[in-house]
């Protein structure tokens, strides 16, 4: 299981990468492995408001639908539309293929997220 050191993580298996006041959000390698083959993703729209802890997208595997939770609050400034036609990209490289980019509303929310080490320890349990 891959867990890049430069990202922050949630208990619900999302990752966050911060760049210039913006956050890229995706799902972890562990999450994509547990879901199995991803066949559809329901994406939010640009300028949608994300609220920390609330679902903002849905990922459908062969077996079931799973919510993706917002690790931070903010306005969506970009959506990875490539996932609409090729949801399997999330299986192939979950860290390269972010889901949304948001403009951070409150940078202090990042402090509550886990480090790679903390996330790995949690997922092992």
């Amino acid at each position: 299981m891959k867990t890049p050191k430069d990202l922050r993580y949630t208990k619900t298996h999302e990752w966050v990468r911060v760049e210039d006041g913006h956050a890229y959000i995706g799902i972890t390698d562990y999450a994509q492995d547990q879901l199995g083959e991803i066949v559809f993703i329901e994406l939010p729209e640009e300028s949608d408001d994300l609220e920390k802890g609330e679902e903002f997208a849905a990922i459908e595997s062969v077996k079931a639908a799973s919510d993706v939770m917002a690790p931070v609050s903010g306005v969506v400034t970009a959506v990875n539309e490539a996932l609409e036609d090729s949801p399997e990209l999330l299986n192939e490289d979950p860290y390269e293929n972010w889901i949304v980019k948001v403009e951070l509303e409150d940078e202090s929310e990042l402090e509550g997220l886990m480090s790679a080490e903390e996330y790995e320890n949690m997922s092992k349990e």
Partner: protein, 360 residues
């Protein structure tokens, strides 16, 4: 949690294990899609040792079964199998099951793992006959070999001519020098066999079949559900349950309303005479998305029903679902709306038997 006799095999094959009906079972070995296509195009083998087995024996075994089971038990001859239901006094379903007739005084019932204890208690409670009801679940291991190549594969292990075993019949014979009970039945919509035997023998057969047949894949519960769903076969708790009668679910062929009384029969006769009020149908989603169970179904802004199972069908490559809706909205081609999370999506009513295999 219980383990089946094949547990070590699943671990060796790196299966992803999940809890199902109190058992630790393989969800998938490689991928649900890959295993699904293997069964449709070649063959797959499932561990179904979690299924419940109940023996009914005694001089009035037939009478007891006739009283609790919806199908025509009295018309069965030895070595035949019938599909049907245990129904409650309201005509709802206690369980769906297979009945194997060994002889007039001996039947084997194969029931859902999740319902086994309930079924056993139910049958014992209704047993006012000279018959004994025995839970034999732990004495049987079972595998299902399913797919167009199933017969060809199994034939190489036995002298018995498998082509003589017709659909919904069974026989007892030797495979790889061990004794098995073999029926031509399944839960995938493909040809195939369900094979019962002693724990060690079934384990031996499972591992030999996989080791010696390159085109055969181990298949898990994940594709078992997508396969049965496409073929229009019901899963208890979804298309049938205590509140959905077999007639509403569309399995009237397994309910003999003319026979001498079974539990719930009067309700089902009235339901048929009055005309069904609702029905289980198939839905095909017209908008982008995927349907799952438990979504509300609308017709012109009025909530009319709910979805019961749903998948992006691996064979048809379409988002499909089963749903229960009023008879007046059940006509093929009717456009309905399904609420998927926050979105209202359009779907079209179609036959719930989404996939039918081509007869060879």
């Amino acid at each position: 949690m219980k383990r089946t006799p094949l547990y070590d095999e699943h671990v060796r094959l790196h299966a992803r294990m999940v809890e199902y009906a109190g058992y630790e079972m393989p969800l998938q070995y490689t991928s649900i899609k890959e295993e699904h296509h293997a069964v449709r195009n070649r063959a797959g083998v499932f561990d179904v040792s979690h299924m419940g087995e109940i023996h009914i024996q005694g001089s009035e075994a037939t009478d007891l079964l006739d009283h609790i089971f919806t199908n025509r038990v009295r018309a069965m001859t030895a070595q035949e199998i019938q599909y049907g239901f245990l129904t409650n006094e309201k005509g709802g379903v206690v369980d769906d099951l297979l009945v194997y007739k060994v002889n007039d005084e001996f039947y084997l019932l194969v029931v859902n793992a999740a319902n086994k204890d309930k079924d056993f208690a139910w049958i014992k409670e209704k047993n006012n006959f000279d018959a004994t009801v025995i839970d034999k679940t732990d004495s049987y291991a079972e595998i299902a070999l399913q797919g167009p190549k199933a017969e060809e594969i199994l034939q190489t292990y036995t002298e018995t001519d498998l082509s003589a075993i017709r659909f919904f019949t069974f026989a007892e014979f030797e495979i790889a020098d061990k004794s098995f009970l073999v029926s031509r039945t399944g839960y995938t919509g493909e040809d195939g066999f369900e094979i019962y035997g002693e724990n060690d023998d079934v384990k031996m057969l499972f591992s030999r079949l996989l080791a010696e047949n390159e085109k055969l894949l181990p298949a898990g519960l994940g594709c078992r559900d997508t396969l049965r769903f496409e073929a229009g076969l019901p899963l208890y708790g979804h298309e049938i349950d205590a509140d959905i009668t077999p007639l509403e679910a569309g399995y009237g062929f397994a309910v003999d309303l003319r026979k001498e009384r079974f539990l719930g029969q009067d309700v089902l006769i009235r339901q048929k005479e009055a005309g069904l009020q609702r029905k289980v149908v198939g839905l095909e989603l017209l908008d982008k998305g995927i349907l799952r169970e438990g979504y509300d179904v609308y017709h012109e802004d009025e909530r009319i029903g709910r979805t019961l199972s749903g998948y992006l069908s691996p064979t048809l490559e379409k988002p499909l679902a089963t749903a229960i809706v009023p008879m007046k909205n059940a006509k093929k081609g009717t456009i309905v709306t399904v609420k998927v999370r926050k979105r209202m999506l359009q779907a079209r009513v179609r036959n719930k038997m989404f996939y039918r295999r081509k007869k060879s």
